[in-house]
């Protein structure tokens, strides 16, 4: 009946609101610390993961990281030390 110029902005902003809500709820929040040490020619990598709340897939994430590190710095002898924390 009449022209409503607000329709398009309302459509766009409500779609964005929904997308933003989904991202905020379904993206797992994880933090990773990596510590590289170089002492007397001995190189060591330490890393730790922290999830916000319960995150059952954190361990898989840790395994992925391990693979990346192995590729980047192939070590002759490996002493592995890893930890994953759910907190």
């Amino acid at each position: 009946v009449n022209h409503d110029p607000g329709k398009l902005p309302i459509g766009i902003s409500s779609a964005l609101a929904l997308i933003g809500l989904s991202i905020s709820l379904f993206t797992p929040r994880r933090r990773v610390w990596v510590k590289l040490k170089n002492e007397d020619g001995k190189r060591s990598i330490e890393y730790a993961l922290l999830a916000r709340g319960e995150d059952p897939r954190l361990e898989r994430e840790a395994a992925e990281l391990q693979k990346i590190f192995d590729k980047a710095w192939p070590l002759a002898s490996q002493e592995q030390n890893q930890g994953a924390v759910n907190g």
Partner: protein
């Protein structure tokens, strides 16, 4: 508005078949409910048998050790006490995967198979009703309930493929039976055309997602109720009191229930948000305004706020455990209120529903 003249004729024979199938499905669900309850009772019994056998073994140990020395006897008694503590452990892991004892539940297996049968009958009833009326099967209270019940059962059965949620079986099948009885007895509606207000493509999107979100809210509600029971029981056990509800050992720990309920609630919340937005857009198209504080709109918003509060309380306020469970339960009660009381007794633009 002579829309009805243009609509395809109702296939009444198919509609009657649909109602017959709905009744059959309700009966099978009723049987499933009984079998799930029997399974819990049986699990209860076999758990106490296992416990008493374990205790007897300890007693024998005690007797054989008794002659050796008094000190050993005391140690053996401590061992028995430790075993009694283990009795409080769960048969379902925190990831809700099948463990050895939980897979030895023939009754529960029968119940699951029968529930699939009931769901197939139920799905047939819903689809044939839709075909008889040439429209989506969610246009009045009878259809909201019967289609909603079908979604509850279907979501439950699908999740069951991945997670051992059989502990919820009696609750879900009971709820579905109740919804079907409510539909048949409370709102018997012959197959018919949609009231003109609902004749819009928006009904497909808005109502389907609303019903699906409600079904998910119902499932997380069940988990939150169990969580509260489990929490109280674990507290009693920790205080060294007797386990009054040993069958709750088939149910995962309170924390696992809480996390799973939370995940379902996040999905349902996004769907509910979409429902409210789509409803507002439909309202604009139909009534010329997005939001008019119609009772249904108000209560949909209340539900949204309660669940938003629940998500915030958990994420930022650190409200976990029973407090977050209560928020989720209040949210579901609002959903039920919005569906029943608001639809039936409140005068508003949503007074369709064939009431």
């Amino acid at each position: 508005m002579d829309n009805a003249g243009a609509l395809a004729p109702i296939n009444e024979t198919l509609g009657e078949y649909s109602q017959l199938f709905m009744l059959l499905a309700a009966m099978v669900y009723g049987v499933v409910f009984i079998i799930f309850a029997l399974d819990l009772a049986k699990t209860n019994k076999s758990i106490s048998e296992m416990d008493s056998q374990a205790l007897k073994r300890d007693e024998e140990l005690l007797v054989s050790a008794g002659s050796a020395a008094v000190g050993t006897k005391a140690r053996a008694r401590r061992g028995a006490a430790a075993r009694a503590d283990n009795v409080g452990e769960h048969i379902v892991t925190y990831k809700m995967e099948y463990t050895q004892l939980s897979s030895k539940r023939p009754m529960a297996r029968i119940a699951v198979v029968l529930m699939w049968l009931a769901a197939v009958l139920h799905g047939g009833a819903v689809v044939s009703r839709a075909m008889a009326a040439h429209r989506v099967p969610w246009g009045n209270m009878y259809e909201f309930l019967s289609t909603g019940a079908f979604l509850v059962a279907l979501v439950y059965l699908l999740v069951l493929i991945f997670k051992d949620l059989r502990f919820m079986g009696s609750f879900i099948s009971g709820l579905v039976t109740l919804m079907l009885c409510g539909a048949t007895i409370g709102f018997p509606t012959p197959v018919g055309h949609l009231v003109p207000a609902l004749q819009s493509p928006w009904i497909v999107i808005h109502v389907s997602i609303a019903v699906l979100a409600s079904a998910l809210f119902a499932i997380s509600f069940a988990m939150n109720v169990l969580q509260l029971i489990q929490h109280a029981r674990m507290n009693r056990l920790a205080a060294g009191q007797k386990d009054k509800l040993p069958f709750m050992r088939v149910v995962p720990g309170a924390g696992a229930l809480e996390n799973f309920a939370y995940r379902i609630n996040t999905i349902a919340f996004v769907m509910w948000t979409f429902t409210v937005i789509a409803g507002a857009i439909w309202a604009e198209a139909a009534w010329g305004r997005y939001w008019g504080w119609d009772p249904k709109e108000v209560w949909s918003f209340v539900i949204w706020v309660v669940y938003a509060g629940y998500l915030h309380a958990r994420a930022t306020g650190g409200w976990t455990g029973p407090r977050s469970a209560w928020l989720s339960i209040i949210g579901f009660l609002c959903v039920v209120f919005n569906f029943t009381i608001v639809n039936i007794f409140f005068d508003g633009l949503h007074s369709y529903a064939g009431v």
